[in-house]
């Protein structure tokens, strides 16, 4: 069924279709409508599920960790400070190989306190061992959730998956969303069958201490797992297409890159704005395209290397920053293309932090700048008057 729905409510409805056994979350802007809507769905008896109110995001993550360890399909959602409060649990969840699905409404991290969108929150936990997906629009975001459970619970994977959606820009936008039927989702995503779980009938110990003699091997095993997740992600999308007719998948997506000399690289909803700008620039004869990073972990290095083997110039457009370090997407991207025979020049720009609107003119401006010479972590869209006044 297709209808116009707010992004967060659409996610809540999609998650409900996946029939989680246990949901635990704590309200935080701009994620809150997900938990509110799920609480209502459970309260209305439309979903048989334990909905647990907790006293913090830390406990929300811990509760779904416990539920998953006991064999339940478990879900939580958060944002920004909440995600950072969960961070210790996220590492633990991944290390214990628990297939929890988490939605992050991407939001800036304080200080200054700011409820608006950027990617800093999720980027900060990117090394925890989560599979990280970035939604371009709300249909993509809903489809990602059905696939996220399937990927997380795959016997070859058994890892938490985080679906990222830009705060406000996607979370609070109303768009037409196509929802699958419950019967079809039940077919696509059968009941969760955990491989190992806490049970009095098989009384094993979970979460053992791994000393210097064993810890290295556990991390090696996780690294090896991440090497073989890509086919699982691709298959989840292929199976989805077979069943629902639309393809929402891929590690990356190339847009108008056939003959592109310049390629804009980014993630999330920014991709839509870049595509719009690229269409305009193409009309003016510029050979330019967009490369979408849809999956940040496992990092699609081989796909990116291949996709960027022909262009002259790459421009990373980033909504997060490693203070004192290089552009985050740019650094990873450079490492991916290092062995390419024809290395393009790589510029990167910081835009849209803390919800600063990304206008089409900003995109034209940064392309123009990069064409004049390589730019390193340059800010676009700054209010220079405010900058000058800041320390007066």
């Amino acid at each position: 069924m297709k209808k116009v729905t707010e992004g967060l409510k659409a996610v809540a409805e999609s998650v409900a279709l996946c029939r989680p056994d246990v949901i635990s979350a704590y309200p935080i802007t701009p994620q809150t409508h997900i938990v509110e809507e799920l609480a209502q769905i459970v309260a209305d008896g439309k979903l048989k599920c334990e909905f647990i109110n907790v006293e913090s995001e830390f406990s929300a993550a811990s509760t779904v960790l416990g539920a998953s360890a006991a064999g339940a399909r478990a879900y939580t959602a958060t944002s920004s400070q909440g995600l950072l409060l969960m961070m210790e649990v996220l590492y633990n969840m991944a290390g214990m190989r628990l297939p929890v699905v988490i939605t992050d409404a991407n939001r800036a991290v304080s200080a200054p306190i700011n409820i608006w969108s950027d990617w800093q929150d999720a980027i900060t936990v990117r090394d925890a061992g989560l599979i990280m997906m970035y939604a371009e629009d709300n249909q993509d975001c809903c489809d990602m959730h059905y696939q996220a459970f399937k990927i997380a619970e795959d016997p070859e994977v058994q890892l938490p998956v985080m679906v990222n959606m830009d705060g406000f820009i996607l979370t609070h936008a109303f768009d037409p969303i196509d929802f699958p039927s419950q019967a079809d989702i039940d077919k696509y995503l059968p009941k969760f069958k955990p491989l190992d779980f806490l049970s009095a009938n098989n009384p094993r110990s979970f979460g053992l201490m791994g000393g210097p003699d064993r810890y290295l091997e556990t991390r090696y095993a996780m690294a090896e797992t991440f090497k073989s997740i890509t086919p699982v992600i691709l298959k989840a999308a292929d199976d989805f297409k077979k069943m629902f007719g639309r393809y929402s998948g891929g590690m990356i997506e190339e847009y108008r890159m056939e003959d592109a000399e310049t390629v804009l690289v980014s993630m999330g909803s920014t991709i839509s704005d870049l595509k719009e700008a690229v269409d305009t620039m193409r009309e003016k004869g510029k050979k330019i395209g967009v490369l979408k990073i849809r999956i940040l972990r496992p990092y699609p290095a081989a796909e990116i290397k291949q996709a960027l083997s022909r262009c002259k110039r790459v421009i990373c457009v980033e909504k997060a920053i490693s203070l004192g370090g290089p552009g985050i997407l740019a650094a990873e991207l450079k490492s991916a293309i290092y062995s390419n025979a024809n290395k393009p020049e790589v510029s990167n720009f910081i835009i849209g932090l803390g919800g600063r609107d990304v206008k089409q003119d900003h995109i034209f401006e940064l392309v123009e700048k990069a064409e004049k010479g390589v730019c390193e972590t340059e800010f676009i869209g700054l209010d220079m008057k405010l900058v000058e006044e800041m320390d007066k």
Binding site: P30, S117, F168, I169, H172, F174, S269
Partner: protein, 179 residues
């Protein structure tokens, strides 16, 4: 693509109005997108919401700076908020007031229409919530969304008895300002 900006105060249903308009356009077979001001505003504070309606898939996610249409749900906002900001020359602005456009003494160059939406809302709905009333007037004026679309949008969003009353209001204002 047509872009609409709706002005109101927190609690007046300005986001719901945008949602309904987008949903109506969707039922009319158009591509659509709606979103609120991404703010931390509280009840009573000036707020805005936005709608895009197009024949083609809408990709752009930036805010709306040059709307084709502006709807002002609360006339007390005029003066404190620049409701004309970015409005295209000759663009339509629909204001909820019992006054006639010429009585408002607004800046020239725009197509100003007025409707006593709050009065009609109290009459028909029994509550001073002008959002659906204004939606009817807007549809009549612009033809951007149809009565059928609005009805389907309401049926999806509201309970049956609410749909009936709101549709009465919409039908009244639709014909009042229909070109």
């Amino acid at each position: 693509m047509k872009e609409v900006r709706l002005h109101g105060r927190g609690g007046q249903g300005v986001v719901t109005a945008a949602e309904l308009m987008a949903s109506a356009a969707f039922f009319d077979g158009k591509e659509t997108q709606a979103f609120p001001t991404f703010g931390s505003e509280r009840m009573g504070a000036p707020v805005a919401s936005f709608v895009r309606i197009s024949e083609k898939k809408i990709r752009i996610r930036s805010q709306i700076y040059e709307p084709d249409y502006v709807i002002v749900q609360d006339p007390t906002l005029i003066g404190s908020v620049d409701v004309f900001a970015g409005l295209k020359q000759g663009g339509l602005i629909l204001i909820n007031t019992e006054k006639k456009p010429e009585e408002l003494k607004l800046k020239p160059g725009f197509n100003v229409k007025t409707i006593p939406a709050t009065k009609i809302a109290i009459e028909i709905l029994g509550r001073p919530i002008p959002n659906t009333v204004m939606l009817g007037a807007f549809a009549g004026l612009t033809g951007l969304v149809t009565m059928d679309g609005i009805k389907k949008a309401m049926q999806q969003r509201f309970k049956a008895e609410l749909v009936e009353k709101n549709m009465q209001a919409v039908e009244r204002t639709f014909s009042m300002l229909k070109n």
